[in-house]
Subunit: 459 residues, 2 copies
Amino acid sequence: MPVQPETLSVVKDQLVALLGDRCSSAQAVRDQHSKGESWHEPIAPDLVCFARSTEEVSEIVKVCAAHKVPVVPFAAGTSLEGHVHAVEGGVCIDLNEMNQILAVNTEDLDCVVQPGVRRKQLNEFLRDTGLFFPIDPGADASIGGMASTRASGTNAVRYGTIRENVLNLTVVRPDGQIIKTGGRAKKSAAGYDLTKLYVGSEGTLGIITEVTLRLYGIPEAMSAATVSFPDIGSAVQAVILTIQAGIPVARIELADEVQIDAINKYSNMTLPVQPSLFLEFHGSETGVEEQARQVGEICKDFGAEDFQWTTRTEERNKLWEARHNAAYAALALRPGSSLWATDVCVPISRLADCIMETKKDLETSNLIAPIVGHVGDGNFHLAFVLDKDNPAELEEAEQINGRLIDRALAMDGTCTGEHGIGLGKKKYLRREVGSAFDVMVAVKQALDPDNIMNPGKII
Amino acid sequence: MPVQPETLSVVKDQLVALLGDRCSSAQAVRDQHSKGESWHEPIAPDLVCFARSTEEVSEIVKVCAAHKVPVVPFAAGTSLEGHVHAVEGGVCIDLNEMNQILAVNTEDLDCVVQPGVRRKQLNEFLRDTGLFFPIDPGADASIGGMASTRASGTNAVRYGTIRENVLNLTVVRPDGQIIKTGGRAKKSAAGYDLTKLYVGSEGTLGIITEVTLRLYGIPEAMSAATVSFPDIGSAVQAVILTIQAGIPVARIELADEVQIDAINKYSNMTLPVQPSLFLEFHGSETGVEEQARQVGEICKDFGAEDFQWTTRTEERNKLWEARHNAAYAALALRPGSSLWATDVCVPISRLADCIMETKKDLETSNLIAPIVGHVGDGNFHLAFVLDKDNPAELEEAEQINGRLIDRALAMDGTCTGEHGIGLGKKKYLRREVGSAFDVMVAVKQALDPDNIMNPGKII
């Protein structure tokens, strides 16, 4: 239900009094805050507020709470399932000006950042400290957004997802109350794990305004490898064996031949147009060599002839840039198209079946949909490249996506490994979690009784 | 408030109808279920039910819910903060007969167990599979209890706590509803993280009746080391540098000279009576050698002369058995005494200060209180060995414990790294989490509105 004009007018007056020209109702500003990077039709908020501190976020939320007006947080706008769409209008809080790195505790391997800090910004800032922040979802996402959507990405197989790497959050609750969910201790058994409750809650329980993150020492040695396989089943089997053997790969990424073709064209590379793995190894000099040798042998057993290993930083960076641009490369296959990126995650023993059945399903489709995946975790993506104004294409993607999710759930997997629920996967959540959905509803009602925090998402 | 006799009589009749002689009100049985392993005065439940399945737990809970009678789960009885004390009487559900390992998925490195399975039982069962479950709190605790209290222990520095290693739980809610909180995918971004909400909730939100755990391949090579230091500050500094250097030690345990003396006497060892570290290294043959060499060099820089490294399984096992018996060794220092074990966890940069200030505080006390710690995580324990019938000793321990916690909180740490809140630390929880306590209360009220699940704990 949209916000009533008279309510909006009162709220706007109060927010302008609070923020001056940092509260905007200009159409262009609203439009900028109406969408993420995926196909979902934009839905603009009524107002956009640019906050500069936790206290300001609290004040904005208090105004909204008094009038039961929805609040939607926004930063990088890189989400993929419609998380920032203002489905009931209301106030978007833009957190991009809250982009300070507040503390780096090098001795404790942690840091405290504001939610608008981007992951690349953080790593550039950290460079001289010898530390890095490993979570890397590809996009240059904001830390607040990553925490809100429980993001992960290429390094999760070694370093975990953001869930394992957030120690503490400052959260503004729906009534404006400011809380801290943890401390800086590496572990705690003190009460309910509120940090993990807010991580992945997609702004539906409160707004994250500070994040304490774990950091890691930059490894003594890093090396990368590429390898191509006769078929996708062999590639996945090599991954499964690598994981089962306990080889501590930092990254092990799959791209199918469709994606490799797109990468070659977009990033001017000459990779064999076959299912391929991109790998990275972190450790000591001898460690990374040992890991690469072991993985190389496994790949050879599965028919790979061209395991190429490099310790050169330049080659390594080129490889990962190409991998990170996979989605843009896919889009470039069809100029003017939109991206519908979906992801599932399954137990690794089922990964080959899941991917191959999905490929078979795609064979009968006219849609282009490259597959890439963080396969060490059993997580992979389909990226439909489609004309979002063509209902037939949307319908076909919806059908394939539905069958993909059914397949993953039947394999004891999840409808989303890392993109989140947002708008796009709401209808699958209940199917996945069954009666546990009641618990989610109870938590939401208890913590946001007026349903003002990013309404229409998750629940 | 105790359960009224007439209510109890009705509940007992219904439970006996359900369970026959597996519902007992015998004093001896009630007494067995009245305490953990710490000093807290036992408080017996009114009835004890021995459940054999999730469905039975659900039926028992439904009977209790209908009459608003408290329900307290129980298995190994190794908790340290009074978690199983039936402070308002009611029904204790003994889960020891639910001790089946339901599935081991070797390809996926996971397993599904009932809550009464003990950690040693699980590892014995797994031995032939080449896999192991690393979480090791010392005591041969039940998996359900470990999940309920967010346990960790010696291996957490490498493998995380049980929080990072539970993929899914089956939980019986306060109305008897049975839910699953996750699947077997390694990661998920699907809705609120209910698994992490129930892990560490100490039975106050529901009863865990099945646990899906991550497993790990038994490392190709394992080795252990002991090393002693001129003073505790040097030992802790060596730990800090080891962690900061990113050396992936599997275990790095501190014992002060009081604890070493106790261990020597109890386990018939001849360790130098000085602050010492016990270490374990997991990896490839070359990896563990490299790690040991690096740590050995760091220890030498801090004045350790006797770094002793062994790859012999027998010596390794003897060492860890001695470490695991540290609490019993402490008790043996004073026959007939009781244990008051407390733990805190701080950022590692503050660990030396925290331990040394605590030692200084102990110097003016007459209490014996050895210090041991999972120092790689910044976590350490004080184990008061006292006469629990002597109010002066209890009062003194209380004072020292309070100052220890104040110290840890002032250092941005937590009042408990792994033992949990239970009864013993309730008064410190609010101090630690501040207004976030309101969120915990709201969650508890939403999910257990009649407050029948392990009442009087955490909140």
